[in-house]
Structures are given as C-alpha cells and as structure tokens.
C-alpha cells in the first residue's frame, strides 16, 4: 500500500493535473479532490495546486479559502495532516491562517515566469526530507502576486524556528521579504511554496527534475510512519 496524496481542484486551479502527475511520478497514488466536497477520501496528504482559483479576484486565495473542502483541510492540518500549498495553494494557506504572513503583488508589478534557483533551508518538514539541508535546486516559478510579507516579529520568529523552508538565490523574483520562497507551520506538516516543484519532475518538460523531492519526501515520511 502506497500513500494516497490528494490534489484539490478549485474553480480556476490550473496546475492540478501537473501536481497529480508529480505525485504519480514520485510513486504515490494521486487522488483528485473537488472543492465542493467535504470528503478528503482518506488521503494521507494534500496538495493545494497552483493556478488562479476564482480568477485570483479579490485577493489570491481569498475566495477558495472558504470552500467546503478547506474546512476539512484546515481541521486536518491542525491535527497533523501534511499539506503542501504551491503558489496559489500557498496563498490559500496564508488566507486560511494556516501559515503566517501574506503574499502580495510582485514588486515589479509584472507576472513573472522563470527558472528559479532556490536553497532548501529546512529539510525536516513533511515535504522536504528528501533534500539535503542547504541543497540548491532549480524549479520553475510563475506568479503575479508572490511577494511574501509578514511583520518583522513574525519574520524573526520564522527564522528562529527554522520555518523558512526555501529561499530564493541569485535573484529575488518578486520582492519577498528576506528572499523567502516558502515557509512552514510550527509542526512542519503544512508547507507553502511559491515556486512550482511539480513542473520540475521530468527532464522533457522541466528545467530539471529537482522538484520531485517534495513529492518523494512525503511518500518517504508516510511509508516510514
């Protein structure tokens, strides 16, 4: 029995099929979840994929956060359910207050799509254990509102508790505070990440395959449990 990883489709989700593919390539069983259902189908972990849920209208993630499935995910996350929010998923996690801070308009005001170098700062979360601490990886990044902000106290706390999961290297693509590309909750089961590891899982279609580690990490963790 391998792990079952759910990927939620909200209206306007775009990278849901890519996330399902990444789960499959990592060797786990992908399970499609629908935003209106209050049923997590006994998955062992959940990915909130990228996209423009509800058109990113109002604020990115602000409307999705109130969907029926998010009630279940918020509840589950508090009890340790592993949750990875990628890009729009990260925004939803912040709007849900499962992660601190917020994501704002890129400082240069443009959508940006590029191959982004990152450093994995924390390899003890549910989603990063396949990486070495400090490992440098390159995965696609694409967002219009990816600037991570939080007040100084929160940022200091995140640093002190090792909750900065990944940091931008070479170029900060969106004005994120302290080059933060991803953060986790205190327990480490909930991770939000602005770049897109699910687009770096095949040599043919991605710049590298270095994104696969996020998906193998969760599998490893679940199988070891």
């Amino acid at each position: 029995m391998t792990a079952r990883i759910g990927v939620v489709t909200f209206p306007g989700s775009l990278d849901d099929r890519d996330a399902l593919r990444a789960v499959r390539l990592a060797g786990a069983e992908p399970v499609a979840l629908w935003h209106r259902e209050k049923d997590l189908q006994q998955v062992d972990g959940v990915v909130l994929p990228g996209g423009f849920s509800y058109g990113d209208y109002l604020r990115c993630g602000a409307i999705s956060r109130f969907s029926p499935i998010m009630e279940m995910i918020i509840e589950g996350a508090k009890e340790g359910l592993p949750v990875l929010g990628i890009c729009n998923g990260f925004q939803i996690l912040c709007e849900s207050h499962l992660l601190p801070g917020a994501l704002t308009r890129n400082d240069h005001l443009h959508f940006i799509c590029r191959d982004q170098k990152l450093r994995v700062e924390n390899n003890s979360t549910a989603w990063t254990s396949s990486y070495e601490k400090g490992q440098e990886i390159t995965v696609p990044l694409k967002n219009g509102e990816g600037g991570y902000i939080a007040d100084e106290r929160t940022l200091d706390m995140l640093e002190a508790e090792g909750r900065v999961v990944a940091r931008y290297l070479e170029l900060n693509p969106n004005g994120s505070r302290r080059d933060i590309a991803g953060v986790s909750n205190a327990a480490g089961n909930v991770v939000g990440l602005m770049p897109h590891p699910e687009h770096a899982v095949e040599p043919l279609t991605g710049p590298t395959t270095e994104g696969l580690g996020f998906f193998t990490s969760i599998l490893k963790q679940l199988v070891n449990v």
């Binding site: 509800y54 058109g55 209208y57 109002l58 409307i63 109130f66």
Partner: protein, 85 residues
C-alpha cells in the same frame, strides 16, 4: 499636507468580473442582503502645498490621463477631510 482621493470604478455598462466574483462568494458564504458588488481602485494622493482649484485641476488631469482608463472607467476626485469609520 493634504490628501486627495481619486476613486476609479469601471463604467456601469462594463463587465466587472471581480465584483461579480465577490458578489457570488458573499451569497455562498451566507451573507444575504447584498444585491450587487462592484470593485474599483482607490488612490490616495498626498499633495504638497494648498489644495486649491489649480491643484485639483491638475489632479483631475492626472486622474483622467493616467489613473483611470477612461475607455472603460469613470473616476471621481475629492479632498479627504479625515472622516472614516
């Protein structure tokens, strides 16, 4: 230093996808009694010197040529007198 506010809203006949999305979400969230929502932009301009007719005239021009896209948007200019709830 005075503050002048420029409100920019889509013209009534123009589709407002954002307002509609908010409107629909309110219904889903169980907030009744709001029949329509429109979403626009609010600019707060800090003006140096007196906000006389001349200054307002210039701001009007800024709004018209730059802050609003008058092909699809209307705007209003007003001096803020500090009341807010």
């Amino acid at each position: 230093m005075a503050r002048v506010v420029v409100d920019v809203m889509l013209k009534p006949e123009i589709l407002d996808p954002q307002g509609q999305a908010v409107s629909r979400a309110l219904v889903r969230l169980g907030f009744d009694g709001i029949s329509d929502v429109r979403q626009g932009k609010r600019f707060e301009l800090e003006v140096e010197g007196p906000v006389d007719d001349d200054a307002l005239g210039r701001i009007h021009k800024i709004a018209e040529s730059f802050l609003a896209n008058t092909v699809i948007e209307d705007f209003t200019v007003r001096v803020e007198n500090g009341d807010a709830s």
